[in-house]
């Protein structure tokens, strides 16, 4: 040791878990096969399918959306031509918060971080020429998730695709909005009802649809550790299951359609272990806590996105390397679907070229690296199994604390998760500023003169055009029908009817996202953060 001193006094993961010099098998770090199990079998530590990527690769699903529906439709077609296997729609902030493009708060935000969708007309343009019976579509939409799902169903009908054939996902995860991402509209209780209404409606009418994507991604981006990401996400999952059971649904009726969304950050082995731990923990929760009988209810299926906040504006090409490592961790962790970030995302939305390179990164991992040729290649690694156990244990402790606070909804209302995440975010920032945590190209190995890559710009004229569009729609449509469907929606919101059929009627009458959300705001009120 004196001859070969170590680089640091201690080595820790992003969650602060001490990393030993060497891992060897022991009873504690569970090389027993019963605890780990086999792929496709409870508790699914090694993956939810027996053959995993030997059967089929993960879905390559690049998140895209900007400007008008037509522009985004062009980017979708480009990505599909380049070999992407699923769509993933980014909506602009006014759409996500339930404002039409001509609302005063929408100024400057129309079409910026996603596509502007005001009405069914925009959705028709967005999906034009895309066969909804062949593509699965993920929509990152939360507070107004039922409105956008209703639009998707309506477009399907127009294409002659019945709703029971539609495949895709709506994010529909409001709890993480209060915790980490900020695009909430209504207070927690009515939001939870809207979510369970979607569970119930889809179980009957859209059975192949993933009714929620319980998201740790944003929790991690807000600054959490890997352990907190697992713990808070699964705690939110527990809250949704409890709400649905309380609303009278049978757990095995909706649980197989629950899906998850995780982040992949830089600590390679901790990330792999995180996915394995989350899968095992959820299987236990569903079987033991909720008494689910259907094995599909036990399986944690998840999408992964590489870590946006790990990317640097400095030396953007380095981000390609970060994304490659993160994507590899997701694949080794057994993801069902993957988005790889583009190198320029710390600066702006991706250009067509950078979006293509990001997709190619996945394709190289899939087709060239050989890592997809066997299932859970790191299973049984002393280190990975020990980390998997440790993450699971620490996540269980957090979940117990949240249970003690009265569950995730109560914990969110008390600001518990928000404070925990903020504390860690500050610590991380301090470690980066002190140089203790190295970020290549940013706090070490900097360049003096940084060349700037060409960036994607959204045409500033778009906002004016979109405003004209929604105003012209309001003048053209059957105002009486809009009025009646909105009034019926309000009455349903005041009572206990499932809201989905009412929202579908509003959408088909070409009521706008803003009008529908406004009707619901009138009844439910708006969330005021703690």
């Amino acid at each position: 040791m004196a001859k070969f001193p170590e680089r640091k006094q201690s080595f820790v993961t992003s969650s602060g878990i001490e990393v030993d010099r060497l891992y060897v098998g022991s009873a504690e770090n569970s090389s027993d096969w019963e605890r780990i199990g086999f792929p496709g079998e409870y508790p699914y530590t090694r993956g939810i399918r027996p053959t995993m990527y030997r059967g089929r690769f993960w879905t390559m699903r690049q998140y895209a959306g900007f400007g008008s529906a037509e522009e985004t439709n062009r980017r979708f077609r480009y990505l599909l031509e380049q070999g992407q296997t699923g769509l993933s729609v980014a909506f602009d902030l006014p759409t996500q918060i339930g404002y039409d493009s001509d609302h005063p708060m929408a100024k400057g935000e129309v079409g910026k971080v996603g596509v502007a969708i005001d009405s069914l007309e925009d959705m028709e343009r967005l999906l034009e020429g895309i066969p909804l019976d062949q593509v699965s579509t993920s929509m990152t939409i939360n507070a107004p998730a039922s409105v956008l799902l209703a639009m998707y169903i309506a477009v399907g009908e127009k294409q002659g695709v019945p709703s029971h054939q539609l495949r895709g996902t709506i994010q529909n995860d409001i709890l993480k909005e209060y915790i980490a991402r900020g695009t909430y509209i209504f207070p927690p209780q009515p939001s939870m009802r809207m979510i369970t209404d979607v569970f119930a409606y889809c179980a009957e009418h859209v059975p192949k649809w993933n009714t929620i994507s319980i998201s740790g991604y944003h929790i991690r981006e807000a600054g959490s550790t890997a352990v907190q990401e697992v713990a808070f996400t699964l705690a939110n999952g527990i809250a949704y299951v409890e709400a649905a059971v309380k609303a009278g649904l049978d757990v095995d009726q909706f649980a197989p359609r629950l899906s998850f969304f995780f982040n992949a950050h830089n600590h390679f082995f901790e990330e792999i272990a995180k996915f394995r731990a989350a899968r095992r923990l959820w299987a236990r929760i569903m079987r033991e806590r909720f008494g689910a009988r259907d094995p599909r209810s036990w399986q944690l299926r998840f999408h992964t996105q590489t870590g946006g906040s790990t990317l640097t504006a400095q030396q953007p090409d380095n981000n390609i390397v970060r994304v490659t490592l993160q994507a590899l961790a997701a694949v080794l962790g057994g993801t069902q679907s993957l988005h790889t970030n583009a190198r320029d995302e710390a600066l702006a939305l991706p250009t067509e070229e950078s979006a293509r390179i990001a997709l190619r990164t996945q394709q190289i991992i899939a087709y060239e690296s050989g890592v997809a040729d066997t299932v859970d290649p790191l299973g049984g690694s002393y280190f990975v199994e020990a980390l998997t156990d440790r993450i699971e244990e620490e996540a269980v402790r957090y979940i117990q604390q949240i249970d003690d606070l009265g569950g995730a909804v109560a914990a969110v209302e008390q600001g518990y998760m928000q404070r925990e995440i903020h504390r860690v975010a500050l610590e991380t920032q301090r470690r980066i500023e002190s140089g203790e945590e190295v970020v290549v190209g940013m706090n070490r190995f900097q360049l003096k003169d940084e060349p700037q890559p060409p960036l994607h710009r959204v045409d500033p004229a778009l906002e004016r055009k979109q405003v004209e569009r929604v105003q012209s729609l309001r003048a053209r449509r059957d105002g009486q029908r809009v009025h009646e469907t909105l009034a019926a929606l309000k009455r349903a919101a005041e009572g206990t009817d499932n809201l989905m059929p009412h929202i579908l009627a509003c959408v088909k009458a070409y009521a706008t996202v803003g009008e529908i959300c406004h009707a619901l705001r009138d009844v439910f009120g708006e969330y005021q953060p703690v």
Binding site: L93, P94, Q96, I97, Y99, P104, M105, A106, K107, G108, E109, K112, V113, E177, R181, G182, T183, E221, A222, G223, S309, T312, A313, Q314, A346, L347, A348, L349, H422, A425, L426, Q429, E433, M442, N443, Q452, L455, V458, P460, P529
Partner: protein, 145 residues
């Protein structure tokens, strides 16, 4: 409308309003900078999410701040930041120093500076650098008035 300008002096800590204009909900950076500036001895008020430029300016005047720090990641900065400085001017409060941060391409920075944004801090800036800039800018302005 002219407002009464504050008397800045040795005994008064620098007051900063950290604001999130527009609809962007990512406030990790805003919360970090707010805490860091408090640790540097400044008085910091955070607006919370979804503030219009008019609301931000009203709060800044009411709270009698020296500095407004705007944070935006959605790409709406070219619309929202100049609107804040325009309203400050309109209300005779353009002695308030406005700085910005977030996901802002370098090529946009000259435009923002032309519109009265004193400095734009993007990712990689340390909180200490930001605090130092604020102290210097306040000192320079004091010397002028």
């Amino acid at each position: 409308m002219k407002r009464k300008k504050a008397v800045y002096g040795m005994n008064r800590p620098i007051r900063v309003l950290v604001a999130k204009p527009g609809l962007d909900g990512h406030d990790r950076g805003a919360l970090i900078i707010a805490q860091a500036l408090r640790d540097e001895g400044m008085e910091v008020i955070y607006t919370g999410l979804r503030q219009s430029p008019a609301q931000i300016v009203a709060t800044a005047i009411q709270e009698d701040v020296d500095v407004i720090g705007l944070s935006c990641l959605s790409g709406a900065h070219n619309e929202l930041f100049p609107e804040v400085t325009r309203l400050l001017k309109e209300q005779g409060a353009d002695d308030i120093i406005v700085i910005g941060g977030g996901v802002i391409p370098k090529e946009d920075i000259p435009f923002l500076k032309q519109h009265g944004i004193a400095e734009v801090f993007t990712s990689g800036t340390t909180t200490r650098e930001t605090a130092e800039f604020i102290r210097q800018a306040v000192k320079t302005r004091e010397a002028r008035t």
